[in-house]
Symmetry: C2
Subunit: 244 residues, 2 copies
DNA sequence: TAAAAATGGTATGAACTCAGACCTTTGAAC
DNA sequence: GTTCAAAGGTCTGAGTTCATACCATTTTTA
């Protein structure tokens, strides 16, 4: 008779060592970065050699990924010095579509992302507010806030909103938190593209952003977290209605 | 002139698509699960075929990982029906060792883990307390708490403490939170093995565990989070002294 | 006691990934 | 205008990983 472990832990703890092939993972990461507006329309990606290093992948593999992005119409490539790969994807306008028929497992992942977000984004805001505010950091935050506040059209607003949240994560200076927020924003982006934008919601969101920036700039960590929690809750309420 | 993105985001967002080879990742995950006590001494791991499926890896690759674990003395394998792979690793006793000469990048990762932990573990406790408490869930929690409270020797205490925290994460029922807590506990485990155990600390920790269990069982989510935050802060203070 | 079943052990060929070298194109520097 | 540098494009051989089938050992079951 061999002993058995507590039965609930193993299944919870062991998980796929990596979802898919390296080149698919590259496509996903780059496509996400482009869609979230980390590389907005018209910007040039780093060179293939640099990207390969950043993603810890061989250039051959990275090039397969680039070919896929080109194929999908997200980027265009020009050769020669000064050439490179330029983003051609226009930010999409959120609209009610397709939200009805998502696979149940996908639906589950969406709900999980909302829960996770409510933990990590307020945590990032807290940490960001906690760290000493340098000029560079202040400028990054104010620039990101200005972008989202100034965004005229819904599509542009969606991207600058992502950038705003990613910027706060970056200000936390925690590698793991940045990764967590990036992952969550990616999923969130999918969801938000599937619901119509209401001006009311955007105005409400912008007020919360303003409060968030103020709390972070004044170093009020508790308040930053609270505001971000409320912000996440409000968005989540909207989205939970969508996915049922 | 091609446009440039906001300069701070790309480096923060793009990251290695996968750290190392599949078989190394398997070794890491399994070794972590064993060291953290997910599979305690004497328990049998799932069959190679099952593990391969769980980790989304071919059996050939999984077997390489098993060979490495065998090599390292963590497990032993017997053939035939009723055979399998049994954990032979005895829990190690924490002791002051080697903590002095960790690479600076590793040190950075350790500090990052402490920050991240203070975000995700309280979040997991909050969610766990928020969900309706069924009999099964209550039993899992009480069993995990009893284990850690009853642990006589420091080595056993270390493992059951990990299991306790992982159990709370599992009770949150958020896949992403479980993954985050697992990762954090793995790093934390390394750190805790490098400091001497003080009975005072253990007693203090046990009191916090008790308060945590009570808060979760009574559905007091805010309190659960607060207690867990304090718990993380206390451990972090101990450890920051060590690496700082 | 014989057969079946569950386990680890072995083998093979295809596909993916890698590191590195080299080629081609194009704009910038001189 | 020539040269150089920086970018994408191509090639190759070695190492990993994969899916799949089959073998060997041991316990359980009929």
């Amino acid at each position: 008779m061999t002993a058995s472990p507590q039965p609930h832990l193993p299944e919870a703890v062991l998980r796929p060592v990596r979802g898919h092939h390296a080149f698919e993972a590259c496509v996903e990461q780059l496509a996400t970065a482009i869609r979230l507006g980390v590389y907005p329309l018209g910007t040039t990606l780093p060179s293939e050699r640099d990207l390969a290093v950043m993603l810890s992948v061989s250039r051959a593999t990275l090039r397969e990924a680039m070919a896929a992005l080109r194929e999908a119409g997200l980027v265009e490539t020009r050769r020669g010095r000064g050439g490179g790969t330029v983003v051609t994807l226009k930010p999409r306008t959120p609209s009610a579509r397709a939200a009805a028929r998502v696979a149940p497992e996908r639906r589950q992942d969406w709900l999980d992302a909302l829960d996770f977000r409510r933990v990590v984004e307020p945590g990032a805001a807290y940490l960001a507010a906690h760290l000493p505010m340098t000029d560079v950091r202040r400028q990054q935050l104010e620039r990101a806030y200005a972008d989202v506040a100034a965004a005229a059209r819904p599509a542009a607003h969606r991207q600058s909103d992502s950038r705003f949240h990613l910027t706060i994560a970056a200000l936390s200076e925690s590698s793991r938190l940045i990764e967590a927020v990036t992952s969550v924003q990616s999923t969130l982006h999918e969801m938000l593209l599937a619901i119509p934008v209401l001006d009311t919601n955007i105005a409400h969101s912008d007020r919360q952003h303003a409060a968030l920036v103020k709390a972070i700039l004044t170093g009020d960590a508790e308040r930053a977290r609270l505001v971000m929690e409320q912000h996440c809750d409000d968005t989540a309420a909207l989205l939970r209605g969508l996915v049922g």
